[in-house]
Structures are given as structure tokens and as C-alpha cells.
Symmetry: C2
DNA sequence: TAGAATAGAATGACCGTTCTATCTAATATA
DNA sequence: TATATTAGATAGAACGGTCATTCTATTCTA
């Protein structure tokens, strides 16, 4: 049986706790208890804590893209604004302090591990996403626009920690509109 | 003797290690060894690891503002651009992966502790800094402009992790110019 | 000679991981 | 239908290591 309820519970609880307290700030004991699962059940589904972190990141990334894709219609007038809006709604739903992927890059940097690779991969994909969108829309300086919008999303996530997702998103949408117009 | 060489060494080494590996990712043993100091010397100067973290943050904040102030002349044509440039140079000098203050907020969130208060205080001050600047320059929507520029700085720091400080700063300066012009 | 700084051991808590032994429930066999 | 087999899940102890913190006893230095 490939699907497992316990595995899902573990991933859900682990993602919540890792996001709130950090990867190093949460012990497996806590995860096991809150997921109502035995120690060996965790190790039956995941090789190690690192492997659990990996799977959590993969799951979160998958959910992020599903969410973005459901909002952005790439044939719309300005898919860029839709993407910024979608990111804002994601923040409101699932983020209140920083970004799990940047945190993973920081926490596991320099050890040549899978975790950092997954996190960096996600960020690279985000940049690539905007690059393709800008090219498809025939924007001048499409390369620059993509970088600018990515920077905007990252800034919005950071600002969420300080002023909340709603306010942060209002500002980023306003800025995105100006930038997209500028790029003619 | 208020000044102490050992204390300075500890703060410098701790800041480097905390920034690179995270507060929870660095043990006191490592700090002690790299600072060439005995265990009790650390506890002679700092009450606890948390207290060491606090002092590291205070020192870093102080250095940040010194750096910014040395670049920004508030009577210049556009002190905003100077501030963004200064932040970029700070990143190039002292940051290559994320922001130590945001990381502190994340790592020590929800425990009602001094560390989070210091980190949040720094961020509040940054926002306040731009608000005053925008007011002094008689900008329309000065409140919005301050938020936008703060978001820009936060975004630049995050992007530094992904594309390096130079590139990230080029983009944020370009964006800042547009925003400041818009705010007439 | 007094005050710091030293090295290093001791402490108790927690960490990730493994092990053992028991239990349950579904599946395959007769 | 009744029985045997198998796979998962369970609780909890045990392991070796590291953590922050404290203690002790010695050495340096002003």
C-alpha cells in the first residue's frame, strides 16, 4: 500500500512544527507525539530526520505550485499581477513568518545535502516561471522584469512577518503594476 | 575594565557562526574554540547563550545603522536611493544568505523573549526611518512609499541568497528610482 | 598578591536513531 | 469458513552523542 494515513499525518504535523519553530528547533519526539504515531512508524516511512525535512519541502513546493497555477491564467492581460496576488493569498493561508525554503537553505547550507538542493531548486523554478511569462508576453527587458517580480515576492514574504500578509500584498501588487507598465 | 578583548572576540566569532549556521546550529563549544577562549570566560561576559545572541544582535544592528548613516545624506536629492545603495553595499560586505534579524524572529518566536524584541525593534526602526525620510521630503503617500522601500530592502536581502548581492542590488535600485519618481 | 583567565571534567537534559517485544488487522491458504 | 501468515503499528527502553551550564583547580598577569 503506497498511500498511508500515518505518513500523511506525519508530513502535515512536521510541516507545521518546522515552519513555526524551525527545523532544528523541533525534535522528532514532538512530531511523533502530535502526530499520534510510534517512533518506528516514523522511521518506517522516512529514513531520517533529514529525509523527513526533504519530503516536507517537496510536499510544500508541490502545494505552492498547485495553488499558483490555479490562480494564474497565462493568457490573461497581465498574468504577473495574478501571480503576485496568488502569492499574497498563499501567504495569508500558509505563512506568517518568513519562507520555509529560504530557511532550509540557511539551516542546511554548505553541507552538500539534498535539502538545500530542493530549496534552491524551488527558488530557481520561481525565477524561471517569471522569465517564461515575461518572454511569452513579449516584454522589453523580460529578464530584468522577471528578477524584479521575484524580488518583489521575496520581499512580500519577509514583510509578512512584520506587517501581515494583507498589507504586504497590497504594496507588492501596487509595485508590480508599476513595474509591468514600465516594461511596456 | 569595561572594555575586553576576549569579549570582542567572542562577539565577532559568534556573529559569524550564528549568521552562517544559525543560532540553533552553533554550539557554545565551537564558539569558544574559534574565539580561543575558555568556557568560563564566555560565562563571565555573558549570562547565557540567549544573552550572547542578544548582544550579537545589538552589535550587528549598531553596525548596520552606522553603515547606513555614513552613506545617506538626508539633504541629498534622493536619500532613498542612497539608502538602497547603502543597503546593497552592506549586503555585499556582511550578508550572503538571508537576514540575521528575521532569522532571530523566526527561531525565537512565541517565547516572549528579549531576542525577538530586539529583532522586531530593528525592523520597526527601519520602517520608521523611511517614513521620516519620506515625510521630510514631502512625498505624496509618504506612508506607502516607506513601506514599499522597506519591502524592497527585504526583498534584496532574500534575493542575495539566490543571485548575489550585486545583481540583487542593481534591481532594487532600478525599482527604487521608479517608485520615488512615482511618489512625485 | 588579588583578580582573571585557563583547561577540563561533571551534570542533567535532550537529541536522533535503533532495538525489542507485543498487538492488530488484513490477506492467503486449506 | 476456519486457520496461518504477513505486514504495520504500538509503547517504551536503550544507545551514544551533544547540548548549555556549572564546578574545580591551576596558571597567568597587573
Amino acid at each position: 500500500m503506497s498511500y498511508s494515513v500515518k505518513r500523511e499525518q506525519l508530513l502535515r504535523v512536521a510541516e507545521d512544527l518546522f515552519y513555526q519553530y524551525g527545523f532544528r528547533g523541533v525534535g522528532l519526539k514532538q512530531i511523533i507525539q502530535e502526530a499520534n504515531v510510534a517512533t518506528m512508524t516514523l522511521y518506517n516511512h522516512f529514513n531520517s530526520k533529514d529525509n523527513l525535512v526533504e519530503e516536507v519541502l517537496r510536499q510544500r513546493e508541490s502545494r505552492y505550485w498547485t495553488y499558483l497555477d490555479s490562480y494564474v491564467e497565462s493568457d490573461a492581460d497581465s498574468p504577473f499581477i495574478l501571480a503576485v496576488e496568488a502569492h499574497g493569498k498563499w501567504l495569508k493561508k500558509e505563512s506568517y513568518q518568513g519562507d520555509m525554503f529560504l530557511r532550509a537553505i540557511e539551516d542546511y547550507s554548505g553541507e552538500d545535502n539534498e535539502i538545500e538542493a530542493i530549496a534552491r531548486g524551488h527558488k530557481a523554478k520561481l525565477l524561471q516561471y517569471f522569465k517564461k511569462l515575461a518572454q511569452a508576453k513579449g516584454k522589453d527587458h523580460d529578464h530584468d522584469l522577471a528578477h524584479q517580480l521575484t524580488l518583489l515576492l521575496e520581499g512580500t514574504t519577509s514583510m509578512t512577518t512584520l506587517i501581515g500578509a494583507e498589507q504586504a500584498t497590497e504594496h507588492s501588487i501596487a509595485m508590480a503594476r508599476i513595474l509591468v507598465r514600465q516594461a511596456s
